[in-house]
């Protein structure tokens, strides 16, 4: 019930209109939803925009440094969103990064989907940062995984990095066409292709 109320609240705060350029078919398939990251509202918004069948089996991947701090955040992360918590970015040594991919793969099992932000951190001005390699390693670990780019428009203005109070502007969530890693696709090539798939959603 908290989940449903939160999903509602997030959509109201962010005045979100949701658009699927290709319908999620079937909605419950195991997927990786990857989005651009500008705001703490991002994963809640993607999560709330999903159809209920898909939402029930989707877990966000969250940075431990933010989401494990403080009681409320920790409760939300573990009990409401069932987040997969990882050490991230600058805090994590290469060994930890590999460990994170294992953690995510284990958490996904055979049926859970995840929400990730491959930029690794919130972009300060809304521009798309370079992707980190986690997405690539995950696809190698789980071949044939379906990836959906999700572009979040205007969230950077609603709750920008460094602000606590949101301003209720309107936003848009656009789900793109499903992507897959090609066999023998190189790391850089794959990550660039995924980043472009996300960037093209900005225009429409």
């Amino acid at each position: 019930m908290i989940e449903r109320a939160l999903a509602r609240l997030a959509r109201i705060i962010a005045g979100a209109s949701v658009r699927f350029t290709v319908p999620l078919d079937p909605p419950e398939r195991q997927r990786v939803y990857f989005g651009n990251h500008t705001s703490h509202l991002d994963f809640v918004l993607i999560w709330s925009a999903l159809p209920a069948e898909a939402r029930a089996r989707t877990r966000p991947v969250a940075g431990a440094d933010y989401w494990m701090r403080g009681r409320v955040r920790r409760y939300l992360a573990t009990h409401v969103f069932h987040a997969v918590v990882i050490e991230r970015g600058a805090h994590a040594a290469p060994a930890t990064a590999r460990h994170s991919v294992e953690t995510i793969a284990a958490a996904m099992g055979d049926d859970a989907s995840i929400i990730v932000f491959p930029e690794g951190t919130r972009s300060p001005d809304g521009s798309l940062l370079p992707f980190r390699s986690g997405l690539y390693h995950l696809c190698q670990r789980k071949p044939g995984l379906e990836l959906i780019p999700v572009y979040l428009d205007n969230l950077a203005r609603i709750l920008p990095k460094g602000e606590v109070l949101p301003v209720p502007l309107l936003s848009r969530v656009t789900f793109g066409a499903p992507q897959r890693m090609e066999t023998d696709e190189g790391k850089r090539e794959f990550l660039t292709r995924m980043r472009d798939a996300l960037a093209t959603l900005r225009e429409g």
């Binding site: 300060p124 001005d125 602000e163 301003v167 209720p168 502007l169």
Partner: protein, 323 residues
């Protein structure tokens, strides 16, 4: 100033009841015409136009129902309705206009301090502060706060944007429920009668200009701003609206000639408001401010004709009719 009645029982005085009946009759007529047109339209563009027309009529039923309930609650309902419309309109406006990261603070003020206080003042019937809150207090506090935030890029443009949004979406819109403050001696329409007449004439004018424009429209008035606003639509709509507005003089505190003048002012200010908001939309490269009302666009697309009409209508009545 006698306080606003706060009873939550629904009531319409005889004048409002008759106006309401007329509006419902118009909607029934519109729905029938829409249904007939739907069976006759054959070409693809004609079908799209009729589909949009019918979507608009369906939305009108909902809007009229909401407005009727708001008016019937004797004041508080109207204030809540217009406060909500201001909030949504401001949201649509600020979404479309470019602001910078440094403006976050003043945007928060606009939504959560100035807009709510403005409507609390309407509710308190505190005219003195209502009339100056945004033109004076918002005007003198917003630029300083923005300068403190430190970003000087396009500073004047950004300050102007936030202030313009507040003035148009909050200050101007709040003049409609502020009509509840005006007590005209000897007028039987009550506090909500003046509000009802304003909204009726302004929206009727929109509908009639749209209708004449679709039927006869050829020469656009300002082709670079809005190709749909034509001289034929403007003249046909204005003349018809003024005729209806004059015929409804019994629902106002005005004699027939003054009712004609008032409707003319509402139609012209309504047209000016619509054209101005179109110019902003055109500059930002969009057709509508939002998608909330099916067939109409956003809230701001629907209230644009009230923006300039409401304050002028308010002050004319206050000057000439309120002792």
């Amino acid at each position: 100033m006698p306080p606003l009645p706060t009873s939550m029982t629904l009531q319409l005085n005889p004048i409002l009841a008759r106006l309401m009946l007329g509006v419902v009759a118009l909607l029934v007529l519109g729905t029938i015409v829409g249904a007939v047109l739907a069976t006759r339209a054959t070409s693809k563009p004609a079908r799209a136009t009729v589909a949009n027309l019918n979507a608009r009529i369906r939305a009108w039923w909902v809007m009229v129902a909401v407005f009727a309930v708001a008016v019937a609650t004797g004041g508080v309902g109207s204030i809540v309705l217009f406060a909500a419309m201001s909030f949504l309109a401001l949201r649509e406006f600020m979404t479309l206009t470019p602001t910078s990261r440094a403006d976050h603070g003043v945007l928060f003020w606009a939504f959560f301090i100035f807009a709510p206080i403005q409507y609390v003042l309407v509710w308190m019937q505190w005219y003195g502060l209502f009339a100056i809150l945004i033109p004076v207090y918002a005007f003198v506090t917003i630029p300083g706060r923005m300068a403190l935030a430190g970003d000087t890029t396009r500073f004047l443009e950004r300050t102007a944007t936030v202030q313009w949004g507040l003035l148009a979406c909050v200050y101007c819109v709040s003049y409609a429920p502020a009509l509840l403050m005006l007590v005209v001696p000897g007028y039987a329409g009550g506090r909500t009668g003046l509000l009802f007449y304003l909204v009726l004439i302004a929206q009727l004018n929109d509908v009639l200009q749209y209708t004449f424009g679709k039927l006869l429209g050829k020469r656009p008035i300002a082709p670079t701003v809005s190709p749909n606003k034509t001289w034929e639509g403007f003249i046909g709509g204005t003349v018809t609206t003024v005729v209806i507005g004059t015929a409804l003089w019994w629902a106002t505190p005005f004699p027939p000639l003054v009712a004609a003048a008032m409707s003319l002012v509402i139609t012209i200010m309504g047209f000016a408001g619509g054209l101005t908001m179109s110019a902003i939309k055109r500059d930002r490269g969009v057709k509508d401010y939002g998608t909330l009302i099916e067939g109409h666009g956003g809230v701001l697309d629907r209230v644009d004709s009230l923006l300039f009409a409401a304050p002028v209508y308010f002050h004319l009545i206050r000057f000439f009719y309120v002792p």
